[in-house]
Symmetry: C2
Subunit: 730 residues, 2 copies
């Protein structure tokens, strides 16, 4: 019987684990071998290692440049070596600000000086390390010393400024205070500065991240009143990585920008504070009462201001170059040594980072250990495996970005795919990435058992989707930013995945002094069962990519997904048009003024520019052509292909993701080359799919939207040709 | 040119105030006269009276049975007499419980005794009247002395108990604590008792009614931490009015039930408390953390319990008969003295009641004064006007209910319509009632100017609807319960309206010691401009009904509305069926268990009984027949009708609402006769339209649902015949 990669896949989807007699990308014979290998691999995974390693690596704070961070890197390197890997440390020299002066004081109408210190808690000795803990701050805030009236801006995202506009409230010359959440934190000072604010305070509101969610640490997992979320505010949607070396490696002798010219350092000073410190500031505000949806969980009436609260914010940083130590461990492939399957997780943390990133790191290591053992016994991978432990992820994906920038050409030629992990928890598989890999990941998810419920992790994910009103189908979410896959997929155009478990491990420890081993053991993945599930999932994916006869990239699901994105974009255009028409007719009828309370602030809305009709035909035509080309390609029978044809095909498959990039990148941020996925310019980590077109529409830049449609259509047509070329191999 | 009532109406809707040359129910000639009369009426309205009268009537607490309440009734009577009305006081003797013992204590794991006292505030001398203020309590709670573990039940409404069921938490033998809001308060102890609880505490959460909404009194209008909402918990959805005399007047010598047999007194003790008193109780709960949507605004983690918090609740009441003094003032009609247009508002309050009910009472009085003046100058109404000031509304619509029950036969013969008002505020017209009056009320709303924006109150209402995502059309909401229209429409089958302004006067004074003259003047309708707008609106409606050549009942809009209700009910049935099917398929696939966190409480859901197909055809056919009969009736030309024909027609029009009732009433609550509108058995004040059918479906009582369909169809067919008879007059 002739099998091809897609009918096999179909069979797997239809019949589940039991029927998994053959897997995508493998001949029937090799399928069997691969499954035996994966079973042997799974059998070697041991929770005790994860537990011991986490305890060790999260014993002390280890942000980039610390002694303990360097020791961790060296220890990781040593482990990899002991498992048979060729492991080295590649060091970059990257700008990293350490907070010297942090001052937030309320100066009117009453006074209060923010404590800016989280307290040590009973039962967790790690929280009592005093000065060894990194003070809470936002990395890549500019230095500053400002005093001004305070304005509460909710989450400080675009729609909040629209609401302020309607109320006639300006933040010009003011200091804003914004709640964490609603967007990636770096958007808050970026937008505030664009709107004319001179300082920015971010705090964790108990509604989003404190007692409203659940019992606080140490009774429960959630943020107590003193906890502060650290985090980078570098303008990552412009470019991540070292702020002084955009687009190239921060090697010792690299040419560097002057710090004052670095475009990704914030324009205004910004500092995060606890809700205990935020309450006196917010309580001192008066003026307009905040809209219902803006209100948080503090026992006060939330006012917007401006003032009478006046705040003094003073920040000074020690700006130094610090060594970022990436551990790169290689296990050479037997058949295709120049085809690399890459795995990575960062090792640096803001403080102890038991969850973020060590929980992912120990899963990666256990996976590598087991694969190393198999290799020692003769089961070496056909392709080369490259395991990476990145440094300096927290301040801005710096370790991985510098490494990718430094090795970009080689990587673009050799890397099959990059598989990322980071903090891991308990619950449901969350998998994001290139949709050409969706079919394969779904197949692996059918083969991995959920440790709590006994069904496959795919079934458990489907059950959660159904209960939450979604559909049963397995799908990858699209990648925005927020971890080390970014330089691979967004910048180098390498297919990437991001894997993790979660949904049953909520807490408030993220980037605080409470992300410790005891906290993890009590509230995250107490028995490390999901650490093993992660190692099992990522390891199987790695091994399939390493050993496949034909690399398991699949294009039908990719096409369905991208078609959905196009529909979304077209619908959003239509919706915007209707909304503007409705708005304008309401302005004509003066209903906004008639409905407004004359005793409350109100700015009469004006008519909006009407939404033109864009020509989406180039994209529709490109996707139609793609569909038939993909259909043709799907008829390819891998068992009848000669070895040479398979090799040529694999080389083209590896390169497919790259065809979806454009060297000129996205408007105003050329570092981002991918035409299908990007982090949002005003959402940060949040993804924007078909970003060139979508963001131009969102920004009502119609000329650019039409240009981006043409550009994206050309990319899709190139992709179409690439698929035609692959079909022609045989 | 021949005009009929419906083309005139259409012209009015289309052309607005400017085109209002002729009004529904009047010949062209009489239209002009009526409009002149209404203008003269409007010109006489004076804000100063409202201000003075409110200050006087709300100077002291005046709940039923108080000396000040009696004085208010006598003073109102005197005013009406001075304006030329024949005014008398009709007194009923009704059971009213006064709280003797009120005790709420936390007895474990810590102790706390609730203060149960709202504090006097600066700038409001009325709040400092100490013992003269009625202690906070829920009238018609049973006596009780219970101690048990506490359970937090959110709002204590049916869906909350479904959520508890899913969590495997029972309230049997426990004391529940429920937030105010989400339903009428009386539902909370009723449901709690049905579920086996032995006591009930209700509190005002700051999220719904406190600092989360805005600044608290005296800085702002909202509820401070000590404020407590009083209110009746009598089982009004079974029957309102005196608990001892169901269905007949509580005259001095009436036969009375034994108190122990009174079905509308609660089964378990219930007491309202402030959020200051609630916080220690809620903070002492542990166990399951409350679902997100249950969380309130207190700075605690909301747990459900049961326990470890244990509460002792002790209540004793002084159960006495008290005199309820209704003031009934009559101005005899010149042409149709036996056709009564009735207006009413209650005069009793829980404490001072500046807003509830005095703001509505003073508007009614000013309206009556102006009409009295016009009458003195020769502009007497053609029909008799009956102005009523009800007592004992607060404990359960008692004054009006006893009066209606006592005079039911006469009222059913003579009353054209009853127009109710109650607490009034600032903002937008809210008008509810019989949809046969919708066209007329819309027409009046076009003729009244909004005091803040200068357009008509109808235009301002439309603007608010549009801004809030609704439609432009003017509509009446359907009446449930909650004020004195209830005995008229629900029990006696008399067409009724309820009118008021609001939307710009939010506050937390409702049923507290803070509903005072200073609070009203600062936060409600400071200049009484909307008090005048209410007098103007209700007065014009009263005068139109009093002087119309043909009573302005209209049936096309009624038909549209009732058709909408039928569609809702049919859709709800289809939706329930789909939901049950989806649920059952998910149970079959075991997805609930697979998606559940094994570390959290979870009760595996079972399959639900499938939803049968009901035969809605009798209702669909009845509405179709009605539509064509209404179409025929609408061709009637009032100008060509003889006086005798008009008289016969008017007598039938007056009686139309009664045809929509059934003497046997609703299942298990025969006091409620109306087949189109009723308060919900499990929502309280909240209306259920087509209640017999809708509630049977909601309760999944399919047999009863089908029976109620047949019964309602018969009612609609009677209505159809009634309309045919009216068409036959000429």
């Amino acid at each position: 019987m002739i099998r091809n990669i897609f009918t096999i896949l179909f069979a797997l989807i239809t019949y589940g684990i039991a029927a998994q007699t053959s897997i995508t990308g493998f001949t029937p014979e090799n399928s069997k071998k691969q499954q035996q290998l994966e079973s042997a691999f799974e059998a070697k995974l041991n929770t005790k290692n994860l537990d011991q390693w986490m305890k060790r690596m999260s014993a002390e704070p280890h942000w980039v440049g610390t002694e303990f961070g360097r020791k961790n890197a060296e220890w990781i390197q040593k482990q990899f070596k002991s498992w048979g890997y060729d492991a080295k440390i590649e060091t970059y020299h990257v700008l990293f600000p350490y907070p010297k002066v942090r001052l937030v004081e309320l100066t009117a109408p009453t006074t209060y000086t923010a404590k800016l210190t989280a307290v040590a808690v009973e039962g967790d000795i790690y929280t009592a390390q005093g000065d060894a803990l990194l003070p809470s701050y936002n990395a890549f805030s500019t230095d500053g010393d400002v005093e001004a009236e305070l304005v509460f801006v909710n989450y400080g995202i675009p729609q909040d400024y629209e609401a302020l506009e309607k109320l006639g409230i300006s933040v010009k010359g003011k200091i804003v205070i914004a709640k964490y959440a609603g967007s990636w934190r770096g958007i808050k000072p970026k937008l505030a500065a664009e709107k004319g604010a001179i300082g920015c305070i971010i705090y964790s509101d108990p509604q989003d991240d404190g007692y409203v969610r659940g019992d606080v640490y140490p009774k429960g997992a959630f943020k107590n009143k003193t906890g502060v979320q650290r985090g980078s505010v570098m303008d990552m949607p412009t470019y991540p990585g070292d702020v002084l070396t955009p687009g190239y490696g921060a090697t010792k002798d690299a040419k560097r920008l002057d710090r004052k010219d670095a475009p990704t350092i914030t324009k205004i000073p910004v500092l995060p504070i606890s809700y205990e410190d935020a309450q006196p500031l917010l309580a001192a505000l008066d003026g307009t009462v905040a809209p219902k949806s803006w209100k948080g969980g503090l026992p006060i009436t939330y006012h917007i201001g401006p003032g009478p609260a006046k705040v003094h914010l003073k920040l000074e940083f020690d700006w130094q170059l610090k060594p970022a130590h990436n551990v790169i461990a290689t296990l050479k492939g037997t058949e295709y040594p120049d085809q690399w399957v890459m795995r990575g997780n960062h090792h640096d943390a803001w403080v102890h980072g038991a969850n973020d990133p060590i929980s992912g790191m120990v899963a990666l290591m256990e996976e590598a250990r087991a694969i190393g053992e198999l290799a020692k016994k003769g089961n070496k991978p056909k392709r080369t495996l490259v395991y990476c432990a990145w440094d300096a992820e927290e301040p801005g994906l710096i370790g991985s970005t510098e490494w990718v920038e430094d090795h970009k050409k080689e990587l673009q030629q050799k890397v099959v795919a990059y598989i990322n992990t980071d903090a891991n928890g308990r619950g449901f598989l969350g998998a994001g990435g290139s949709h050409t890999l969706q079919a394969m990941v779904g197949e692996v998810a059918s083969a991995v058992k959920d440790p709590q419920r006994g069904v496959s992790i795919k079934e458990r994910r489907s059950a959660a989707n159904l209960v939450n009103g979604g559909t049963e189908e397995f799908s990858l979410y699209a990648l925005g930013s927020g971890s080390d896959y970014t330089p691979f997929i967004q910048h180098a155009g390498i297919a990437a995945l991001n894997l993790g478990f979660g949904g049953e491990n909520a807490g408030g420890e993220y980037h605080t002094i409470y992300d410790t081993y005891p906290h993890y053991k009590r509230f995250k993945d107490p028995g490390f069962a999901y650490g093993i599930a992660l190692a099992n999932t990522a390891g199987r994916i790695t091994l399939r990519l390493a050993n496949a006869d034909v690399l398991p990239f699949e294009f039908k699901q990719w096409h369905n997904t991208v078609s959905t994105y196009l529909n979304e974009v077209m619908t959003s255009c239509t919706d915007m048009r209707k909304e503007v028409e409705k708005h304008n007719s309401m302005v004509d009828k003066n209903v906004f003024e008639l409905a407004a309370d004359p005793k409350k602030p109100f700015k009469k809305p004006i008519k909006k520019e009407s939404v033109p009709y864009l020509d989406f035909a180039p994209l529709q035509n490109a996707l139609t052509t793609l569909e038939s080309n993909i259909q043709e390609f799907s008829k390819l029978n891998i068992t009848t292909l000669s070895k040479e044809d398979r090799n040529s095909l694999n080389k083209k498959l590896m390169f497919a993701e790259h065809v979806l990039t454009s060297e000129s990148g996205l408007p105003r941020r050329s570092w981002y080359k991918h035409q299908i996925y990007a982090p949002g310019f005003y959402t940060g980590y949040g993804v924007k799919t078909l970003p060139g077109v979508r963001e131009a529409i969102e920004q009502k830049n119609w000329k650019e939207a039409q240009e981006q449609i043409i550009k994206l259509a050309a990319t899709l047509n190139d992709f179409s040709k690439h698929i035609q070329k692959m079909t022609a191999i045989h």
